[in-house]
Subunit: 202 residues, 2 copies
Amino acid sequence: MKTKTTIRNLPAEQRRAVTVEAVIELAAEKNPASITTAEIAGRMQLTQGALFRHFPTKDALWQSVMEWVTAQLLGRIDKVIATTESPLEALELMFAAHIDFVVKHPGAPRMMFAELQRPDPTAAKAIAQTMLCNYSDRVGKLLVKGMKEGIIDPALDVAAASVMFIGMVQGLVMQSMIAGDIAVMLGNAKPLFALYARGIKK
Amino acid sequence: MKTKTTIRNLPAEQRRAVTVEAVIELAAEKNPASITTAEIAGRMQLTQGALFRHFPTKDALWQSVMEWVTAQLLGRIDKVIATTESPLEALELMFAAHIDFVVKHPGAPRMMFAELQRPDPTAAKAIAQTMLCNYSDRVGKLLVKGMKEGIIDPALDVAAASVMFIGMVQGLVMQSMIAGDIAVMLGNAKPLFALYARGIKK
DNA sequence: CGGAAGATTGTAATCAATTACTATTTTCCA
DNA sequence: TGGAAAATAGTAATTGATTACAATCTTCCG
């Protein structure tokens, strides 16, 4: 298998993938809503006009970005869920996988948040909403499973616990934005989940 | 005392206040980073140019908005803290006050988040950072007080619990954005805090 | 050489900000 | 106390920069 050394004249599919990655990178540095097509092109050593050869509109590009985030995040957590027996352990590994993903791609949650903020019902926004619903669903299912197994408090409010789970990630993201350092998330993830576990355990 | 009925020719200070409110309103409907000066002016029945009579730059306006949010939010929670003996009860009332504020002004947390995302160290961003540090500090002090009183788990990770507290608000905001309905926060606030309390109590 | 990928150049719309000007209040003293 | 003068508030038009997007060349590679 030969690896491409040149970044010019990439096949279309590969170029699209590189473009999505460039957007995620940029989203880590600034407000996603303010990212311009010129900036994206500049980041990947391309002219602005060339971008529109691979994406008909900017929104189509953003749609691809949201699909990438969805595939990445849900892919990671589904792998964890599939290989873990204990629901509580699965939740912890799922949380760790989520944080790991966010640390590796800080732009991803920002894209998510920015997309949800849009007033008009775009395709990209719908993908973001669906993704979070699916995410919340998986958390809820694990909680219910834990309740049936007698590990988790049977009186637990599953909806609240799901919101809390997502809120933990958001809280860490916010903390890292205040600190201006993404890595702080890694240090705070473990005690944060311990606190969560303490709240939901039987 | 006579009340002004006209919205034209307001005194400068009053006009600035109205402008800040208009921005908060707009931020509830769309991504704060995408709010234009023309939109702000349009919302308050004013021409775009007139805005720059009261604010030298757009960033100066955003600075005023962040100061307003700071004064409102910290003002509310400080009042709660000052009039409540029990630290656990204070945390619950503080959480309720925060949610109440966010429900009344959904644009406020969005402005906060958008400002924190900016790459350049603007004055507005600094205000947002300081505000959140102060907020986190107040949560931390209440937690420590509760630990001393023997109400809260002495082994609690205060930093993690502070992140979780802010994360709860963020989680609710995110949930309301997915649902497209701000009011869902009110229904989920109580069970969410109950879950939090369960995690930090002795 | 033929087609896909990229460069170059261009456009209409929109952005924050400034201009020259008018309308409205407020001030203050004869 | 009335009314000219000064200060303040707002308008309409315009600025140069920037935006997403399009049309037309040019290069590369099998």
